[in-house]
Symmetry: C2
DNA sequence: TGAATATATGAAATATTTATCATATATAAA
DNA sequence: TTTATATATGATAAATATTTCATATATTCA
């Protein structure tokens, strides 16, 4: 059974969703623009945007047949702080060894 | 292939590891004390502590046959900010619907 | 030295998350 | 009112993370 913290991380700590939030830090964007910038599948992006909307991490407004997404202020601050932490700890994260850094090249 | 942000979230956004960090906000604790407070398996706790150590989220010192763990300051601040955000957004997170809140009761 | 306590390690089993697929809806323009 | 564009939905397949299991190491005390 999940508590609020689990749900928060499910929403926020997801690679694709966090990338969306990172993009939206600077300016609001519509789904199509996000898709181009992030090079993700349309259907995935749509799922992720809905999740971020549900959780109130972003808001949306309609403009013609586009939907323009904007990050909310509190969430932006948290994203900035995480990005900063990651920068400072990058070297340790990369050699953790418990976390799997990447699939190695050999088949 | 994982980047530093992915690794950060793998380490930080894990239920058990984040609970450890939450416990360590107030005071340093040894593994046995964490085990009692969190009611987790010894072997799991040990894996998680190693991960947090590798990532420099916590430090450790020996005392007799115990090992005393302490959270580092920057990490503590981030944990506090996340805890605060979760409190403010709890109501929305719980009705997201994309995030699976819990296994429903029926078998 | 041998037993007891505290903690760590690595591999495999299990569970959960994320991506894909097929398709639906909503708006605009011809 | 049909077609094209932009975006959304839900079910399953595929990938990844977490737990468990069997066992190891390190320190203290008798």
């Amino acid at each position: 059974m999940k508590n609020a913290t689990d749900l928060f991380f499910d929403a926020f700590a997801n690679r694709n969703r966090f990338n969306i939030l990172m993009q939206l830090r600077d300016k609001e964007l519509c789904a199509g623009e996000l898709q181009q910038k992030l090079k993700v599948e349309q259907t995935n992006l749509s799922h992720d945007l809905k999740c971020l909307l549900n959780c109130k991490f972003i808001t949306v407004r309609k403009e013609g047949r586009k939907r323009i997404y904007r990050i909310n202020n509190e969430t932006k601050e948290l994203v900035d702080e995480v990005a900063n932490h990651v920068k400072n700890y990058e070297v340790y994260l990369k050699k953790c060894g418990i976390l799997r850094e990447e699939k190695n090249g050999r088949v």
